[in-house]
């Protein structure tokens, strides 16, 4: 972690001084300049000395020890780590709790873990992650998380039955190798039954977090909108954990979804709030792909209705002439890892042996289908029964779908954001792996919570709380909901423009020319379309346009980070392939690209060495 410290010294800023200069003042200036802002009423004396800036729109305030933004895999392990601390926890979930994200699906997740972990005595025993990331934090999180109960026991106590069994009733491990063991049919929704029943956990669901509350370099919580009622909610906390999912929602559009099995609720809301406050967002160029079916259109890339292949099932991948990738020596050696499968698929496409949509093919004949993960078999059965569509009749075109994305805050050795005190990153340090899988989630969830608990042990209340940023954020959101513009464009239209702009640029192979084109279009959307954006509904009740507007601004920032950072990184690494720079270049690029955003949208970055 020495690198972060070094950078801070070099930059000459700590968290506090940074934010005196940061984005918050910009928001305040906008607020102060609003016409019709009523003079401040004299407030009743409540015994406090704080200057209170009352917003003209009422909002609710909820107080807790620990705020967790997100309510999925990482958040669950975080809550589990808090269970004996006697602290109150609020979890804010964007969708209905237990029904949002990959966590909120009857989704057949495969859980993997290192069966040797209980024998590890020190961080030196832990194998390298193999990805460009902060290895010392990775090891620290591993040590903290998995030396006690292994995940199978842990998750069974969250309510799972482990329905993959041998005939004698013992667990059936789909993976059972010396260094990795994995079990299928994990249904994380049962964890939500367990955690929602805990007395010290209060859940606010169907609530979008729109802004972190940052005063004097400290995170005092977050605020957002309860979507069904339009009520503004402020969550005041001693420590805030950001555990939301990575967002892939800028990658194309195919009638019901982008080319992703990730969910539309994930729009990078927390990280983009940090960016607006002047904080850094890193690794936005890294993401993770699977090869997933491209047809029928309504199901593109959906893990719940499509067939697909990754490193678990790469043996049936073919080129357009029916040659198996596994039979080509150059390709075969790549097929053992997730990113290797993507690299191999890109080579096939480059050879002109790919599919019409820039993908390849999956042999899905009955004897192949019957050896795939059950989640694919059940999808094929459903589509055959309900739609008469038979995956086994022809090779299936598969395209790279982006299932995870980094775009994360940078944290120190205590999982605390390097820019903001009291803000902890559960979704952090995924680095070039390109997003949190459930393994990284559970480790970082537990680790971040343990560090947050240590932090609040010596917590001192702030000298003053102004809530100025709350008032400014309400102004911003009210403006998004009610503004009228000349020649208006609805938020959904702007969102689609962003997605179409990235349809090619967000693929694994990203030629400079394609990225430059996307960059120009995204910048045009920022300067031309966003000022025209206006909702066609001003209701407070479940306003779909308002939700789109809030999310679209986040997606635009995120898409720009993705494209800018991809252009900047002049090498190929993991699932990021730059045809002009095919080699991995550790000498120049073994670092995170940490971006900040100026008020006018200008992006700049610094290299933070790993």
């Amino acid at each position: 972690m020495g690198n972060y410290e070094e950078e801070k010294v070099r930059g000459g800023m700590d968290r506090r001084s940074f934010f005196k200069l940061g984005g918050l003042t910009a928001g305040m200036a906008a607020f102060a300049g609003m016409a019709g802002c009523a003079p401040q009423q004299e407030m009743a004396d409540t015994g406090g000395d704080n200057e209170t800036v009352a917003a003209r729109v009422p909002y609710s305030v909820f107080e807790t020890d620990i705020l967790i933004i997100g309510a999925g895999f990482g958040a669950s392990y975080a809550v589990d780590a808090a269970r004996k601390a006697g602290k109150n926890v609020i979890m804010v979930d964007k969708g209905p709790y237990g029904y949002s994200g990959a966590f909120g699906m009857s989704f057949d997740i495969m859980h993997t873990w290192d069966p040797n972990s209980p024998t590890y005595k020190s961080e030196d025993d832990i194998p390298n992650s193999g990805f460009l990331r902060d290895e010392s934090l990775y090891r620290a999180a591993f040590m903290e998380s998995e030396l006690g109960d292994t995940p199978d026991v842990c998750i069974a106590n969250f309510g799972e039955v482990w329905s993959a069994r041998n005939e004698d009733g013992t667990p059936f491990y789909l993976y059972d190798f010396p260094n990795i063991r994995g079990i299928e049919h994990s249904m994380a929704r049962q964890w939500s039954d367990h955690f929602r029943a805990l007395d010290y956990v209060m859940i606010h669901d169907r609530t979008i977090i729109t802004d972190l509350i940052i005063e004097d370099g400290r995170c005092l919580g977050a605020m957002g909108v309860h979507v069904p009622t339009g009520e503004y909610r402020v969550f005041r906390a001693k420590a805030t954990l950001a555990a939301t999912g990575g967002s892939t929602q800028f990658y194309g559009w195919n009638s019901t979804s982008c080319t992703s099995n990730n969910v539309c609720d994930n729009t990078g809301d927390v990280e983009m709030s940090l960016l607006r406050h002047g904080g850094k967002v890193a690794n936005a160029e890294f993401c993770t792909y699977d090869m997933m079916g491209a047809f029928p259109r309504s199901f593109v890339a959906s893990e719940g209705s499509m067939v697909g292949a990754d490193s678990v099932h790469s043996g049936d991948l073919m080129d357009k002439d029916g040659n198996y990738l596994k039979d080509d020596p150059e390709l075969a050696e790549l097929l053992g890892s997730q990113e290797g499968v993507i690299q191999a698929a890109c080579i096939v496409v480059d050879r002109g042996q790919g599919s019409e949509n820039g993908g390849i093919y999956l042999d899905c004949k009955p004897e192949s289908l019957s050896t795939m993960r059950w989640m694919y078999q059940r999808n094929a059965a459903l589509l055959k029964e309900k739609f008469g569509f038979d995956f086994t009749e022809q090779p299936v075109e598969v395209v790279p779908e982006m299932y995870e994305h980094s775009g994360e805050m940078l944290v120190d050795e205590n999982a605390m954001c390097i820019d903001v005190e009291g803000l902890f990153g559960v979704r952090s340090n995924t680095g070039a792996e390109g997003g949190n899988n459930n393994t990284a989630n559970r480790r970082m969830g537990r680790y971040a919570m343990k560090k947050a608990l240590e932090y609040i042990d010596s917590y001192e209340e702030p000298a003053a709380v102004t809530y100025e940023s709350v008032a400014a954020e309400i102004e911003r959101l009210e403006d998004l909901r009610t503004r009228q513009t000349d020649d208006p464009i609805r938020p959904i239209t702007v969102r689609r423009s962003i997605q179409y702009a990235c349809a090619q640029a967000a693929r694994p192979s990203r030629p400079t020319e394609v990225l430059e084109e996307a960059k120009a279009e995204l910048d045009r959307i920022m300067t031309e379309d966003v000022p025209r954006m206006a909702c066609a509904d001003d209701s407070l009740v479940y306003n779909a346009d308002w939700k789109d507007a809030i999310e679209t601004l986040n997606l635009l920032d995120l898409a720009r980070l993705f494209v800018y950072a991809s252009l900047e990184r002049q090498e190929s690494r993991a699932s990021l392939i730059r045809p002009e720079y095919p080699e991995t270049d550790d000498e120049n690029w073994a670092c995170a690209l940490a971006y900040t955003r100026a008020e006018d949208g200008t992006l700049s970055y610094e290299k933070i060495a790993y």
Partner: protein, 231 residues
């Protein structure tokens, strides 16, 4: 094709009303979800919820031509259709319903009851007699499509309905659960179910064999003498 949607913003409208939209039927494998996305994108803002696009999250449950469905996996033929919010739960706006109370109650049932936490060695034991039922119910999306369409529930709203009854059954079959789930099943209305099979015909999780599950619960209740007395 013509899609008539029942719309309602309780903060603005006197009453629910219907709007008909012309939607191109431009996909051989068109789904209801595709049509709703089209309306929101091209006509006017429409409130509806979805997430996974593959019958796993259960968030897009609604009524199509009077039948409860999941929009994401419901084929839509060319012609005229009506779309309404899911029956039996409060409407928030347009096609958004509030399932939070019923899902919280179901979650309470799903929460496993045990005296002490499971240990590694406990995982080697499993209720293989009910393996198929456990495997199937594990895939339940808790979407409430079955409950919205259940004739027994319509006759007697006190009956917890098939979606909630699956939770009772799951923990009854789960060898690690130590509560008396048969009493819970009978109390929840096990004998109100008429074994008509509507739940199984509406369900998109092909793994779940509802009628076998209900019969197994009935057999266990009968063995315990928890039989409904005929008047």
């Amino acid at each position: 094709m013509k899609i008539t949607v029942k719309r309602y913003d309780p903060s603005k409208d006197n009453a629910p009303y219907e709007t008909t939209y012309e939607v191109p039927h431009d996909d051989e494998y068109m789904t209801l979800l595709q049509a709703l996305v089209y309306i929101h994108e091209n006509e006017e803002p429409l409130a509806f919820d979805f997430s996974c696009r593959g019958r796993m999250c259960g968030r897009c449950a609604m009524m199509l031509d009077g039948k409860p469905v999941l929009a994401c996996v419901e084929p839509l033929s060319d012609g005229s259709h009506t779309v309404e919010p899911l029956e039996g739960v409060p409407v928030v706006k347009d096609l958004i319903v509030d399932k939070s109370q019923v899902q919280a109650r179901i979650a309470e049932t799903y929460k496993r009851v045990r005296v002490a936490p499971l240990k590694a060695e406990d995982l080697n034991e499993y209720n293989m007699e009910h393996e198929a039922e456990l495997f199937g119910i594990n895939y339940c999306a808790r979407c409430q499509v079955c409950t919205a369409g259940c004739p027994a529930r319509a006759m007697d709203p006190e009956y917890i309905g098939p979606s909630h009854m699956l939770a009772v059954a799951f923990r009854h079959f789960d060898a690690y659960d130590q509560a008396d789930r048969i009493v819970e099943a009978v109390q929840g209305g096990l004998w109100d179910c008429t074994m008509c099979g509507t739940c199984t015909s509406l369900c998109n999780q092909l793994e779940i064999d509802h009628l076998t599950i209900w019969q197994k619960l009935r057999d266990a209740a009968t063995e315990r003498g928890l039989i409904k007395q005929e008047a």
